[in-house]
Chain length 221, copies 2
């Protein structure tokens, strides 16, 4: 029952949990705290709070679900890494699309584990990233391996980050005015992206774009 107020660095691994679902978060917390060298020092339910919590708690490992409403979890990872290059972020995601995994590591994540993995895999991954290593669950490794074998599998590889974000919002059903407002762009720029995305991916209709986005794990339903 060491409350680890001043400096828990010597004892165990201080963890920040980020997930927008309270029940799910509670669940992880209990699972993780069963390991007696783990201490969940803070929780957050969105990207902004995650960054704030990171600043004030300086956890050893951030365990983060990147599919959150509002600002992308990738944003949060970048913010955290910008502030502390030694920060360890372990992404804990529902999906395991190659593009998403790459994006996560590109943003500075140290690990990627899907929610379909066994608890033991999560725990092992947390220990690994705390040690400074990189880690990913078996299914993620398999997806990534398959992806590296195919030449142009994802279709998202050819899209820039902004383009992907706009594709996601289009697929989510947002109007271009909403997207422009969300991203602080002119509607004209959003239109241009919309055109560019269709040109790059070879899709002819918006419906095809939605299907593409869903296939790539950018959107659900």
């Amino acid at each position: 029952m060491t409350t680890a107020k001043t400096g828990a660095k010597n004892a165990g691994i201080a963890i920040l949990l980020v997930d927008d679902h309270p029940v799910v978060r509670q669940g992880y917390r209990r699972v993780l705290e069963h390991q007696d060298d783990f201490h969940v020092v803070a929780e957050a339910d969105n990207a902004a709070n995650a960054y704030r919590a990171f600043k004030s708690h300086q956890p050893d490992v951030v365990v983060m679900d990147i599919s959150m409403p509002g600002a992308s979890g990738l944003e949060a990872i970048r913010n955290i890494r910008a502030r502390d290059a030694d920060a360890r972020v372990l992404v804990f995601s529902m999906h395991s699309e190659a593009a998403q995994v790459k994006a996560a590591f590109g943003a500075g994540a140290s690990g990627f584990v899907t929610k379909g993995s066994e608890p033991a895999e999560l725990i092992a991954a947390i220990r690994a990233v705390a040690r400074g290593e990189h880690a990913m669950s078996d299914d993620v490794a398999r997806v990534l391996a398959m992806d590296s074998l195919t030449p142009s599998k994802s279709a998202l590889d050819q899209l820039g980050e902004r383009e992907i974000e706009i594709l996601r919002q289009i697929a989510a059903g947002s109007t271009k005015e909403q997207i422009a407002s969300n991203l602080n762009l002119s509607t004209k720029t959003v239109q241009n992206y919309h055109y560019l995305i269709k040109a790059k991916t070879g899709m002819r209709t918006d419906a095809q774009l939605v299907r593409l986005a869903v296939e790539c794990g950018l959107a659900n339903l």
Copy 2:
């Protein structure tokens, strides 16, 4: 440590957990077993196993995530209810689409709680359905209430046969030229239908139309 082999009915509430994500399932289990009148008597990770587990354990309440790979969770609910009309199934879902909620209750669910709810809401809902009542979390109630206010009831009821066919093809990704050709219409007529469908359903973008079509079972993926 009562193993509840012969009859735990008198003591507490026997629960069957169904969710395809092991870590998530473990998490709920711990959260629920913190209530000392709850007993998680079995777990299942898909619809078929859920039905088998229900038969052999006869739980008081089944807590089920309906978004599982393979057979629909709705199928599982229907199977369970077909075998035991008194079975209580509480759906514990990621999303809270009005259509999904209705489908769940239509299949025989006694409650619907989203994973975004507070643990206390889940726990209260389990107690309620165990008592034979119906329960849903606040956000689900809000979504359902909003839905019942909109004139777009089932969304498809207000569409004619041709309109539905065109909506399906739009959702399938066909261009209006392809649709016109498929149905022997002028592209102009297809355009008019496209407009009409959006007007009738209240959808603003094609992406929203795709989602609507998918929700209504008109298109898959």
